[in-house]
Symmetry: C2
Subunit: 146 residues, 2 copies
DNA sequence: CCTTACGTTAACGTTAACGTCAATTTATTT
DNA sequence: AAATAAATTGACGTTAACGTTAACGTAAGG
């Protein structure tokens, strides 16, 4: 059971894989988001760390702070099967879901705004093109007639 | 034409309306995101400022920096109808759209993750409840038989 | 006139999230 | 063994986005 052939990673590998500096990765450890093992003095990252780093960066792209990300990790980790903990977990998760949903709504509003602006700009641009076309209509019309 | 009965706002009104400090609002001005008029020394905000403030806060909820938000505003404002500007505007807008779309994807991945965790927690909780129910089955079964 | 509420500028403080050395150690290649 | 590459631990610097405090102005109400 539980014998996943899991690779290990050096800090440099993670760094280049995810395009973050090693400084950042160490900071994430200091912030208790990653807990790499040691091989002597060197950090040795497991598959779990790999996954977590991906989650961290995804969180960052959504504008979350390291503290918020840690809260989620802790939440998930503290799942010890006790009813109180489970209930609390569910509550917290629901809170997060709400935030995500409203964030999604913000994005959709933004996309709508963008689209309106794009449409207007396109319209303005088309008008300009039409003017130009008229300005060169002699050549153009010949082509059209042919 | 163009005679929209537009209200004006004091900094305090905006502050309480959007639940941000006046300090923040002044900072947004300093960052050239808002350009309120003056009535003597006091700032007087127009409907346009009102709308922009809403946009600013939406941007912030999406994790954007004030500089990024300003870039968008500038972009939008610089729409002078020249072809080069229009083209540039469209390019930039497309860039923004890509970011928004990928951000949306991040959110959906997060929501999926959440749902998986919730499902598991629910399952674990249900099992606990079932155990409890068995423990009190005498009373329960009477009710069911009746 | 005095108080109260609201607003102003200016300046310093703070926190988060890193960047940037510097000095040293460890591992690998030649 | 010597050189090179990759890591390590401090420690200090930096930027963004405000918070906080001080010292003062202004307008309204009692």
């Amino acid at each position: 059971m539980g014998s996943k052939e899991s690779r290990n990673y050096s800090i440099g590998e993670l760094s280049s894989e995810f395009a973050v500096t090693s400084r950042a990765i160490r900071l994430y450890e200091e912030s208790e988001l990653l807990k790499p093992g040691r091989e002597g003095t060197r950090r040795i990252y497991s598959e779990r760390d790999f996954v977590r780093l991906r989650l961290i960066l995804r969180g960052k792209r959504l504008g979350w702070s390291l503290a918020e990300i840690k809260e989620i990790f802790d939440l998930y980790d503290s799942n010890n099967g006790e009813e109180t903990q489970l209930t609390r977990l569910l509550e917290k998760l629901d809170g997060r879901r709400e935030v995500l949903e409203s964030q999604k709504q913000d994005i959709e509003s933004s996309l709508e705004d963008l689209e309106r602006i794009v449409t207007n700009a396109q319209l303005a641009l088309d008008k300009l093109d039409v003017s130009k076309e008229r300005a060169t209509s002699s050549r153009t019309s010949i082509n059209k007639k042919a």
